[in-house]
């Protein structure tokens, strides 16, 4: 039971966005992917979601190549929150969340309504339910979209479910960034495999079980955040001068100086 890439690479127009990468993700854990802009993080996530086919190698869910999965069956097993959203038609927030249930709908209308309301509430967006999506702010839209992908894989499936998040914290204020990752960790504790692209190393240290570091299309480090995210790696990958700090409560932090 896993989601894994086997020597999967991706090239577009002769440019290699991701070199041959083999990674294995386990359900029930929160995996973070970090790396500089253009390192191939979103590419890897798209390969894992089956949105893009690897140029070489393969991606498999439960040992079965993603190519062999029917779209509807895959939709019940994994959801992806993209980085950008381009919905411009005037759906209400609740209708947007309900769209996620296209291939999971087996319940009565009132149960479905309750599921939508519950998903919105868990993302702190209950009060947005009746508002028109195009009129929401960037952060509000991000929360509604998160609720949509949560609603998509809310029902138990015949195998572990996967939640793929591409920079879920991008448009969120500080409080919602933490709320979002607490929620992601809760879902992982219920057996869902969560894979999130994150930029803030302190969020990774605080919430992730595992971290994969990508640089220039290559996996350069993988392991527990405390073992991987140190001053040497920050200098090597980001060119930043950083200090690791351990507080009395046992938490670890990375402080980045103003001059880099």
């Amino acid at each position: 039971m896993s989601l894994r890439t086997l020597e999967a690479s991706y090239a577009a127009r002769g440019r290699e966005l991701l070199a041959a990468t083999s990674v294995d993700f386990a359900p029930g854990r929160l995996h973070a992917i970090v790396g500089p802009n253009g390192a191939g993080k979103s590419t890897l996530l798209r390969l894992l979601a089956g949105e893009w086919r690897p140029s070489r190698g393969s991606v498999a869910l439960d040992g079965r190549d993603l190519r062999e999965w029917a779209p509807a069956a895959l939709a019940r097993r994994r959801a992806l929150l993209p980085q950008q959203h381009s919905l411009s038609f005037p759906f209400t927030a609740a209708e947007v969340v309900a769209l996620g249930r296209l291939h999971t709908r087996r319940h009565k209308a009132e149960v479905e309504r309750a599921i939508v309301a519950e998903a919105l509430a868990s993302c702190g967006a209950a009060q947005l339910a009746g508002r028109l999506y195009p009129q929401l702010s960037g952060g509000e839209r991000a929360r509604v979209q998160l609720a949509r992908v949560l609603a998509q894989i809310r029902d138990e499936a015949d195998g572990a479910r996967w939640l793929l998040l591409d920079e879920p914290t991008a448009h969120l204020d500080l409080a919602f960034q933490h709320a979002c990752l607490r929620l992601a960790r809760e879902w992982s504790r219920c057996g869902v495999g969560v894979i999130a692209v994150l930029h803030d190393p302190n969020l990774v240290l605080a919430y992730a079980d595992d971290v994969l570091v990508l640089d220039a299309g290559r996996a350069v480090a993988v392991g527990a955040p405390r073992d991987v995210l140190d001053a040497a790696l920050m200098r090597q990958v980001f060119g930043l001068a950083a200090r690791r700090i351990e507080l009395a409560d046992g938490t670890h932090w990375l402080a980045v100086g103003a001059d880099g």
Partner: protein
């Protein structure tokens, strides 16, 4: 909810409007036939119509009214579908070149008919087939041109449609230039859009197909909703996007091309009706598609009545009435869109 209008109210109003425009079409015209006579004739009760009245009612007004309702509905459904598949609220079958391609191809078939002396197919069927092929060809061409990196560019789409339409108009002019008198009249009809030629034979070919295509599109409503999120997002939710797009575009082309074969190029119906209904009931295609059919039927039915009656005894092509209504609407839409693109 932000939407005060109930579906039942909108549906009921549009249904009543369709019936009203049908009654209006049957009861008005140069020859007087009153409501009691029409009701009696339609229900098969005692025939109180004279021979001329009978012909006018059953061979002229009824098929023409049914054609107006079906074509209006099919065009609105086609517009709504193109807007969803292309995720562009400005897509109208006549803007993106589909109608133009269908018109040229149909005209070419008509002009070429006398060159084939022993024809086994009825000409109406041949013209409909020609329109289908032309519409499909234009759709494929325009969509290919407008597609970049897997995304359809709204501006390129409208410009490519413009170019195809200009080319189509040129070809139509060329065919008209070399055509004999009856062909010329028919080609003028395709240029302006008129329901004057719709008879039972044409209707028997096109109407069932347009209704079936509209119903099949309705069946895809939930997937079309998902497509509005974006093609990648729809795929993640479990929609087979390539298949959905291919199927829906083909069905929308069927609706458009058969309308053109019957009545020529009638613009703006596919733009105005879905747009106004989206403001009333929202973008959910499960409601929007059937309501668009009703709204398009009522609008084109009413427009054709105006076209028949405005300048009696002469008749204005209904395409001109629609253009006079639709062009200002489109400009208003553009102004609104310029200010807040996300609400158009």
């Amino acid at each position: 909810m932000n939407r005060p209008t109930s579906l039942a109210l909108v549906g009921g109003t549009l249904g009543a409007a369709v019936l009203a425009s049908l009654a209006w079409a049957l009861l008005t015209g140069p020859l007087a036939i009153d409501a009691a006579q029409v009701a009696a004739a339609l229900t098969g009760a005692a025939n109180r119509l004279g021979a001329a009245q009978h012909t006018v009612l059953f061979d002229l007004r009824l098929p023409r009214a049914l054609a107006a309702l079906t074509i209006g509905g099919a065009l609105a459904v086609a517009g709504c579908t193109f807007q969803a598949v292309l995720r562009n609220p400005l897509a109208d079958p006549s803007f993106i070149g589909v109608s133009g391609g269908a018109a040229v191809s149909a005209a070419a078939c008509l002009a070429g008919l006398h060159l084939v002396p022993s024809l086994t197919l009825p000409p109406q069927l041949l013209i409909a087939l020609g329109a289908l092929l032309g519409g499909l060809g234009a759709a494929v061409l325009v969509l290919r041109i407008a597609r970049l990196d897997g995304d359809t560019q709204p501006i390129t789409l409208l410009l490519a449609g413009l170019a195809v339409n200009a080319f189509a108009a040129g070809l139509l002019g060329l065919i008209a230039y070399g055509a004999s008198d009856p062909t010329l009249r028919a080609i003028t009809l395709w240029l302006f859009g008129s329901l004057g030629r719709a008879g039972w034979t044409e209707l028997a070919v096109a109407m069932p197909l347009m209704v079936v295509a509209s119903l099949l599109l309705w069946r895809q409503a939930a997937s079309l909703n998902a497509l509005l999120l974006g093609e990648a997002e729809a795929a993640h939710i479990g929609v087979d996007v390539a298949r959905l797009k291919r199927g829906c575009i083909a069905l929308a082309v069927v609706c458009t091309a058969l309308s053109v074969a019957l009545a020529g190029v009638i613009g703006f119906i596919g733009l105005m009706v879905p747009h106004m209904l989206r403001l009333l009931v929202g973008p959910d295609h499960r409601a929007l598609l059937p309501l668009s059919f009703l709204g398009g039927a009522a609008l084109l039915g009413a427009a054709d009545n105006v076209a028949r009656l405005a300048l009696q005894p002469a008749e204005v092509p209904v395409g001109i009435v629609c253009a006079l209504l639709g062009a200002p609407f489109f400009l208003g839409l553009l102004l609104r869109w310029r200010r807040s693109p996300e609400l158009a």
